[in-house]
């Protein structure tokens, strides 16, 4: 479990974090989103004890990072944004060093069994005796990921966990995160929003060091959903669609987007706020025997949600 209370951090004049508070329970996978410079890496660095906050507190599994850093750090597995390791060490040697550093698995046999299982999980078995400096970027990322998982930590903090991996490896790593997330607390920062949507039950959005959203992707989607704005694809001509929709209740605008499929037309429709354009459009088209092939745009993608949240914040400052 991670408990963050009123975390603030400044770099000289610049405020990197401004009284950020949140809590992540065991068994939760939470995504941390924000534009570049929003404070994601600073947050992660503070959570892992790499940086100290100017004010506020971080508790990891009940241990205060400021007062008992050793005990708090023992529960954390951290994958930094830039994989960091000693290039002159072999993969197996490096992970043994991490075990020593974390003071875990003193029994050599048990340790090697644990490491072998880890190598197999992250796809490092074939290169475990190679020097890290000679590995490709993808393999280095896997080594970095493996060091975060050493000792099955109760809290995983992952900064861009799948960067540099091939698509099949990305799927495997995501599955691994999902499995670990059942018993551990996981915080992920990623610019791949589909990854966040796929993995996370909750999303934290940072903007200029402030936490501007903390909710499930579904609830965030509701906040940004605009059911009065839809796009449709109809089998028929633009003229037929215009005729069919001209008397639609609350119609504000109808804009044709062209023909993307033979014999069909795409259109963007906006009705008055508070109405659901989809229902009225469906009835109007049905009455005119114009098949509605699909409706889209009312369900916001995570990209839309993220951008709308960030823009909304900007607008509120104006």
């Amino acid at each position: 479990m991670i408990q963050v209370k009123n975390l603030s951090k400044t770099y000289g004049e610049k405020t990197a974090l401004d009284t950020v508070s949140f809590e992540i329970k065991t068994g939760e996978i939470v995504g941390l989103l924000g534009l570049n410079g929003a404070g994601k890496s600073t947050t992660m660095n503070i959570l892992t004890g790499y940086l100290s906050p100017n004010s506020g507190s971080v508790h990891v599994n009940g241990f205060d990072m400021g007062k008992e850093p050793g005990k708090a750090k023992r529960h954390i597995g951290y994958l930094p944004e830039q994989p960091a390791f000693y290039g002159g060490m072999r993969v197996n040697e490096y992970l043994n060093f991490i075990c020593d550093l974390k003071k875990i698995l003193p029994d050599k046999k048990a340790r090697q069994e644990h490491l072998d299982a880890l190598f197999s999980q992250v796809g490092l078995s074939a290169v475990k005796r190679r020097l890290i400096r000679n590995l490709s970027k993808g393999y280095r990322q896997r080594v970095s990921f493996a060091q975060a998982l050493v000792g099955n930590p109760k809290v995983l903090i992952l900064d861009e966990p799948t960067v540099g991996l091939d698509p099949s490896q990305v799927m495997e790593i995501r599955q691994l995160i999902r499995e670990r997330g059942k018993t551990a607390t996981v915080l992920i920062s990623s610019h791949i929003l589909s990854e966040i949507r796929e993995l996370c039950q909750r999303i934290l959005v940072l903007k200029d060091g402030k936490l501007i959203a903390d909710d499930s992707p579904e609830n965030l989607a509701k906040l940004t959903r605009r059911p009065h704005q839809v796009k449709i694809r109809v089998k028929g001509s633009a003229q037929q669609v215009r005729e069919a929709l001209k008397d639609t209740a609350g119609l504000v605008s109808l804009q044709f987007l062209g023909e993307n499929e033979e014999g069909t037309v795409d259109a963007a429709i906006e009705t008055e706020e508070g109405t659901d354009a989809r229902e009225n459009v469906f009835h109007a088209l049905a009455q005119n025997s114009l098949p509605l092939l699909y409706t889209y745009g009312s369900e916001a993608s995570l990209e839309d949600i993220f951008l709308q949240l960030v823009r909304k914040q900007d607008d509120s400052h104006l």
Partner: protein, 234 residues
Amino acid sequence: MTAIFKREISAYFHSALGFVFCAALYFFTGYYFLTYNIYNATADFSSLFTLLFPVVLFMVPILTMRLMSEDKQSKTDQVLLTSPVSPFSIVLGKYLSALCVFLLAILMTLVLAVVTEVFARVDWPLFIGHFLGLTLLGAALIAVCMFLSSLTESQVIAALLGFTASLFLFIMDALTAMVSKGFLYNLFYYLSFSKRYQPFTYGILDLSNVLFFVSIAAFFLFLTTLTLEKRRWS
């Protein structure tokens, strides 16, 4: 601390650095032994240890240049500082590894003394005094150069800073002679590594000199720990 110590020792001998450092000191030790002990047919090691003073001054920066700066440059300090190891343990582990390599390098003097013992009588209490003096000099100098290494992420700059510090220590006696009596004179006089080291080569074991080198080492280890801690607040 043990994990870091083991890793650093392994790093010294996985690269050429540990071997080159030992080989260079073995060379100078062997050369001075040949020219002073063998040619003069003497079992007195005072000259050898006196001549090793500048060698150690200029070799130690090479030994310590990567100790802290490498972690800063390759971001492995992130791995160390997010592990459940205190900054002081990190510093101590690295320091002890460098000290061990240094001891391994000056162990050649002991080997030569044992060989000499076969042919002549070595004054062992005097030799142990010499050896202790050189060890303490190395211990203090490693701490100073390690601190300098923690100030930069470039190994070259770390080495240059170390050489500058060594040069300063080397010419400190000359500086003492150049300044009139006063604060600077006293400062140079009391901080002179050479003046503190010389009594060991005369066979004088003065506790104040032992304490001087130990205090210098402790002070700079403390400063290095502070530098590491400071990174968390920057």
